[in-house]
Every structure is written in C-alpha cells, then in structure tokens.
Amino acid sequence: MTAQALTREGTPRMAIWKALLLTLPIVPFAAAALANDLMSGEAQLIEIIPSLLIWILLTVFFFRMLVTGKTHRYRSALFILLAFAVPLYLIPQLFELYGTNMLTPEMTYTAKARFCPMTMGMVILPAVLKGVVIFPGAIVEGIGWFFLWIGASLVIGRGWCSWGCIFGGWDEFFSRLRKKPVVKHVDRKWRFLPFAVLLAIVLLSAITFHPIYCEWLCPFKVVSEFEAPTSLATTVALVIFPLTFFGLVVALPLLTKKRIQCGLFCPFGALQSFFNKINIFELRIDLDKCSQCKRCFRECPTFSLDEGSLVSGKALMSCTRCGQCVDACPKGAMSYHIKGTRIGISPNAARLLFLYPAYILFCGFGANVIADALWRVLRLITTGSMI
C-alpha cells in the first residue's frame, strides 16, 4: 500500500496508522535473531543489542516501504547489508570450528561443510539417478534447505534472487557505485548464458559426480569457504575463484551498472527463472499509462525487460522482482501483479501480497546473519578478536 494510495483513502495521519497496522505481521519475523538469543538462555547483553537493533531496522524498513511506496530503495540496502554480513558471520564461525575456512576433502566428505543452496541444481540429478548426494556437506541441513527453497520458490519465484540470496548483494553493491554506466549495450544473446551454465554444470556434475560449479566457478568462494589447495586442480581453482569474483561481481557490474553475476551467469538464478512461470506474481506494464521512455530497461539490473516487454506488457522470466523498475517508472506504469487479475486493478494490494512472503524470507535468512555479524564487529572493537 503506497503513501499516495493511503493518502487518497484518508488523511496522512490515517495513512501512517494504516501502514503501522500493516507492518504488525512483520514484527515477529523481524525479531528472529532476538528470539534466537533469548531462547538460547545464555546470551549476554552485547549479543542481544545487535539483535535488538536488527529487529528495529527490519521493522522500520518495512514500514518505510509501505509509507513511501518505494520497494527497491529499502530492499537494496538490506540486501547489500546481508551480503556484507555473510563473510563476517561465516568465516569466523569456520575458524571457531576448524581453525580455517579452507576445507580439506575429508572435512567436506564427513559433512562438515555447510550446505549451500546454490548447489541445488547440481545435487538433484545425481541424487535421483544414482542415489548419491554429490555435495555431502551436512545432509540434514541440506534437506531443510531443499524444502525451504521449494516452498519459497513456489511462493515468490525468482524473487528469491533479490530477497533471499545471501550473495546477490555483492554485485548489487558494485552495480550501484557509479552514477552512469560505462558499457551501455550488452548483446541480447548473453541473457541465455545462465541457462547454458545451468545446463552444462548440471550435466557435467551428473557425469563426474562432483559439484562442478562449486569446484571451479563460484565467485563467492572468495567470501566464504573453499577447498584447500591439495592438488594441481584445487590450486588452479583457487586462481579461478578470485578471477570470477573480480570479473563478474566487481568489474562488470561497475562498468554496466547491472547485476552481471545474477543476470548473466548464475546457474541458480536460471533455475529460479523457471519458478517464475508457475508462481502467481509477476511484474506488469500498464500499456495505457506507459510513455515508452524505456527507463525501466535502463534501470532493470538483470536484463529482464526488453523491447518485447513494451508490446507484451510483461517482464521476462528472469525477473527477480527487485522492484527497481517499479520505483523508477515516472508514470507509475510498472507494478507488481497477480496473474489472472486485470492490469491496473489493485496494484498496491498485489505489491503488499508479494512483500509479505518476500520480506519474511529475507528476515528468515538475514536477521540472524546480520545480527551475528554485527555482534562479531562489536566483539572485534571491544576485545580485538571476532572469534
């Protein structure tokens, strides 16, 4: 519900009360980290303070989304915060447990590696065909991830990539640093690359019984865990990881102002795109309002709008529902939409219905991670150590 819409229904004060009321369902989910601390029963004040701050931050940001009608502005800030929090949360934990973030094959195969949801596409085929889980890190955790991933994907589709992904904020951050892009045109055919990466790594993984993407390509190994260099192959991989990180997550997003890793490479994103086909939400253009200014093209960070969208009135299947085009459209022609309903009818209700599950997903992933990272930073300041 946007402020404009709220204001139409009454006074600004009424609108704020209404936004407050609509924020209430989010409050318990935003308190996930705090609840975790309180349930542990051993949390000290220094641990509770970050959780309390995150609870307030998440609640205030959702409230601001409702009052201002802006989605992307607040989502993006939280999304980037989560991405930066992940290494601060994960790497010290690994050092606490194993004294390193370089995992040996033995540690991986004795289920000491964390299960990464990005492996989902590679894991499924060998598991179905041979009954072998090729990423044997914490199987129980993996099953939990599987059900969470399926559920969230069915509800918000590729919205996962802008609301649930713990790494996507990195290239979003670098894509937002420059005011104008240096590279303005990216050929259409590159949009198919994530599907090719998905196809290649799923099938190569099924042939070799190794998670090929994790072993050779994942740029985010730089900010998480990676295999120790015990052979020529793992040493070569250690050279590739920083190169893919610098190229896909830093340099190209800086030059294009686009989320290159998410939009043009990530195989998990390609997999998520298929969920956009079966999920009820979509981004639509009201062609009666649209002035064909193409600002949405330029703003879309994942190349999910093109000339065809102006004819069909739809975003492409790769849309991550980040809301950037909705925020940017000067005519208010872009909106969240529920499939099967008429265009332009209750866009605010559709947005609100999308925001609830998407924001709950973010709170589920983000609250604990950001609070823990904040606590570790405070710990570093007060004790000189993050561990």
Binding site: L193, F195, A196, A200, L203
Partner: protein, 209 residues
C-alpha cells in the same frame, strides 16, 4: 549410464549440428505431428546405425591404446585437449556448419526413389559425422576396451542425445530453436573449456577424472 549422461550433456550441441538438416526437411514435408514423429524416428534409426559403426571403430582404437596403458593419462589428456579445441573451433565459428551438405544432396538424389528411406539415410550420414560430441563419446568408448562396452556406450549416448530430438516433432518447438541454439552453443563452450582444463590437468598428472 555414463554414455546416457554424456549424451544428455551434449544433446543440445548435437541438436544444433543436426538441426540444419532435419528442421528444413521436416518443415518442407509439412506433415502433422504424428507424421513428423515417424520421420524423426526413421532419422534417429539411421543415426543409431552410424553410432554403432563408431562404437566398433572406438573398440578397435581402444585395443591399440591399451598397449600404451602406462601413458593413459597422457593419451586421454591429449585427447580431451584435442576434443575441446575442436569443440571450441566449432562453437566459435561464425556460421553453424551445414553438415555433409554435398553428401546429403547426393544421398537425397539416390534415395529419392525410396522416399520412406530418405530420413534413414539422412540419419546415418548425420550419425557418421564426426562432430565434437561424437568424438567425445568416441574417446570414452575407446577407453572402455571391450566391444560390448563400446557399443553400449554409443547406444546410451544415442539415447541421451535423442531425447533432445523428440520435441522437434512438435511444430511449436521450432519457434524457440534460435534461442535453444544460443543456449546450446554457450553450453558447448563451457563443456569445451571444462574438458580443456581437465585435459591439461590430466596431461600434467594433477587430476584423475
């Protein structure tokens, strides 16, 4: 299973290589889905024949290679590098190759008197074409060492690649073919780079595939 998965991995490349022959033929025929499926099955039958011949050849080559067992890493590594280079060249060429166009034309003329056999002949020639995915399967089959294993690998490779051909009997699939070819080309490029790196590492003794 390995041959089947190898076929699945390279199916889009096979499709991209064979589509210039098959699609115009099916479109020119202008039949319904059922007739197109029948034509496709004939084409695939011919292709299977071509693959079986390759299986036989791979077994013969493998027998020779087994004498150089001490150099297996070097030989297979070099084969992977060679294959990946071929695949890269094929993918990076500006135009998609028109496989065996002259041979097909000639076969079409000869088989023209027996229209029902025409798709079978086309399939056989397409199967005999040494496109990179076939050479990849050839290398794997040669390393098995037994005739039955070699033939079985090519049979399962055929089944894996053939899955991509089945939707072609549906006319709706043709509309998406250019996009599918782009995906196939990129995927082939990634597979080629993977085999190039693996081949170099195998050659250097750094990894055991």
């Amino acid at each position: 299973m390995h041959g089947f998965l190898l076929g699945l991995a390279n199916g889009t490349t096979c499709l991209a290589f064979c589509a210039p022959v098959l699609v115009p033929f099916l479109l020119a025929e202008g039949e319904n889905v059922r007739q197109n499926l029948l034509t496709l099955l004939k084409f695939l039958g011919g292709r299977l024949g071509g693959y079986m011949l390759f299986g036989l050849l791979a077994w013969a080559t493998g027998s020779l290679l087994s004498r150089a067992a001490n150099y297996e890493g070097l030989v297979i590594g070099a084969a992977y590098v060679g294959l990946s280079v071929l695949l890269l060249v094929a993918v990076l060429r500006r135009k998609a190759p028109a496989p065996d166009a002259c041979a097909l034309k000639s076969a079409q003329d000869k088989l023209g008197r027996w229209p029902a056999l025409l798709p079978v002949g086309m399939g056989l020639l397409a199967g005999l074409k040494t496109c990179p995915p076939v050479l990849l399967a050839f290398t794997d089959a040669a390393s098995i060492g037994t005739l039955s294993g070699s033939l079985l690998l090519f049979l399962t490779f055929f089944l894996g690649t053939s899955l991509y051909f089945l939707p072609m009997s549906l006319l709706g699939a043709f509309a998406r073919l250019p996009d599918l070819r782009i995906v196939g080309k990129f995927a082939a490029l990634i597979v080629a780079l993977y085999y190039l790196v693996s081949g170099i590492l195998l050659f250097a003794g750094g990894v055991q595939l």
